[in-house]
């Protein structure tokens, strides 16, 4: 394993220092990334967080029209309650704070504990659980939160920017989650700095279907096949759970080690699949947004838009990793 790090122990800290240096619009303090300008009175604060290793998620989405603060944990490890409490109290502008939490046991527990500890701030929580590779049943921890987290953060952030009340911001976040589904495919494993070797061995001939964003193996291993077929497998899984129709927001997301060129190859197939089902892809995103360290592979996330969600998606956003309209 070769990585551009100083030490495995310091990588999260070092990367945060880099972020702070690169983006004057951010302020990093005690392992929390804030908008430099601080909370705006009357605006609901939007806070998210989770393990590091998914960059630009979440810290890259701190800024106008999206998050007020992000709490990065150690690599693949959810943040601790203290960080979340700090962030929540710091971004409250008097209108309460929304926690956007990816549905993993660790994230859920730490955000819950934080919500209990927060003082004098109204907190609402939304769980993101968009990954159709996991059955939501009594026999699992429920569906994982993956790519749709970006959709939830963008759209909830846009509504918060309009000074909507906490209940409404939480409701739109929940609505986006309900209307979104994702599915991921890995060509290679990822390597955490601490482990120093790949999480799993994936031979040259095979791919993992239905992976998460923490280097967990997927639901099944199948022989490698052309991009077109992998894209169809992912889209079939999504379509089976959420029939694709009307207006769609589609993200083809790289897992961190996949070149943009390949993501565009996948996007062409994904868009063709959606068209084939009679749906319209009216908004799209192609790139590395919700990653898994150096993993090669992709995930597709789909959100069924309506007019209001489209408007909120289009609203101005100004963050290190997502920016338009200003």
């Amino acid at each position: 394993m070769k990585k551009l790090i100083n030490t495995a122990e310091s990588v999260v800290e070092d990367a945060l220092n880099g972020m702070a240096a690169a983006h004057p619009s951010l302020r990093v303090r005690d392992r929390v990334v804030y908008r430099a300008e601080g909370p705006r009175p009357g605006k609901v604060g939007v806070v998210s967080g989770g393990g590091s290793g998914h960059e630009p998620l979440h810290a890259g989405f701190v800024g106008y029209g999206m998050l007020d603060a992000a709490c990065p944990g150690e690599i693949f490890t959810s943040p601790v309650p203290d960080q979340i409490v700090e962030a929540t109290q710091a971004v409250d502008g008097g209108a309460g704070v929304l926690h956007i939490v990816k549905n993993y046991t660790g994230d859920v527990l730490n955000f819950e504990m934080a919500a209990e500890l927060v003082e004098d701030v109204e907190v609402a929580s939304v769980l993101v659980d968009d990954d159709v590779a996991v059955q939501d049943s009594l026999y699992t921890a429920g569906r994982r939160g993956t790519g749709a987290t970006l959709f939830v953060e963008k759209i909830a952030g846009a509504l918060a920017e309009e000074d909507a009340p906490l209940a409404e911001v939480a409701a739109v976040a929940r609505e986006v989650d309900e209307r979104s589904r994702s599915f991921g495919v890995a060509l290679t494993s990822c390597t955490t700095p601490a482990a120093g070797k790949p999480m799993f061995d994936l031979p040259e001939t095979d791919v993992e279907l239905g992976i998460g964003i923490h280097g967990e193996p997927g639901r099944a291993r199948v022989p490698m096949r052309p991009a077109r077929e992998l894209a169809v497998l992912a889209m079939e899984a999504i379509h089976a759970d959420l029939p694709l129709r009307d207006d769609l927001l589609v993200m083809v997301n790289g897992m961190g080690g996949t070149p943009l060129m390949e993501l565009y190859v996948v996007y062409a197939e994904v868009a063709a699949f959606a068209r084939g089902k009679g749906a319209r892809v009216t908004r799209s995103l192609v790139g590395n947004y919700v990653t898994s360290l150096d993993m090669q592979g992709f995930s597709v996330s789909v959100c069924r838009l309506d007019e209001r969600l489209t408007r909120l998606w289009d609203a101005a956003v100004e963050t290190p990793a997502l920016r338009w309209g200003r």
């Binding site: 393990g51 601790v80 993993y104 046991t105 009594l138 482990a195 193996p217 639901r219």
Partner: protein, 208 residues
């Protein structure tokens, strides 16, 4: 049990977890996300530091400080879960700390985890090591077994419980995402729970 024995427990646990860090991480890589060893190692290092900085006067205070530190420093699933075990133990441990008092508090700790994690025996989690350990302690108290022997039995039960997770299909935590593919691997949290009990057995044996 006095405060210093309890501190020794966490020091020994920290030593064992540090020694087995890579094994725990590897277990977690197989069916989770490969951070359990580093998570607990980091957390127990912080616990040792906290205990050294302001040495608590009673076992209950040791447990509470350890639990709080784990919650504040680990993150992930295991931080809140282990943190809750020890905080709950600290909260409920009666003085003087007889075997019976310890056993009762331990059971409270296990119940706290089961509640927080919504996990039951057989879900392939740390509960599968902790609950058998608690049961062994309770049986030892009932049968009037000596402290040292009781703790040895609890440690054995935890180790066996960890082994027993291998054929299980996970229903909680990340491993549950794998469905059938989680079968055939030891749960990393169960493995670390067995280390906690092994550490306790070691310090009790050496104190005797």
């Amino acid at each position: 049990m006095n405060a210093s024995l309890c501190v020794a427990w966490f020091e020994e646990a920290a030593r064992l977890v540090h020694r087995d860090r890579d094994r725990l991480t590897r277990l977690d890589a197989e069916i989770g996300d490969g951070d359990h060893g580093t998570n607990l190692d980091r957390g127990l290092t912080e616990v040792r530091k906290a205990l050294a900085e302001s040495p608590p006067g009673s076992p209950a205070e040791v447990l509470t400080l350890a639990g709080t530190t784990l919650i504040r420093r680990v993150g992930g699933a295991s931080g809140p879960l282990y943190g809750s075990v020890f905080r709950q133990m600290g909260k409920t441990l009666q003085s003087p700390v007889t075997l019976a008092a310890f056993s009762a508090a331990f059971e409270e700790g296990v119940v706290a985890v089961e509640r927080l994690g919504k996990a039951a025996l057989g879900d392939k989690t740390m509960v599968d090591a902790l609950a058998p350990a608690s049961r062994a302690l309770a049986l030892a108290v009932r049968d009037g077994v000596g402290v040292r022997e009781a703790i040895e039995q609890a440690a054995r039960a935890a180790a066996e419980g960890a082994e027993a997770t291998i054929p299980m299909r996970a229903r909680k935590g990340r491993a549950s995402y794998l469905g059938e593919r989680s079968v055939g691997h030891m749960d990393p949290g169960a493995a670390s729970s067995a280390l906690f009990m092994e550490a306790l057995a070691t310090v009790v044996r050496e104190a005797a």
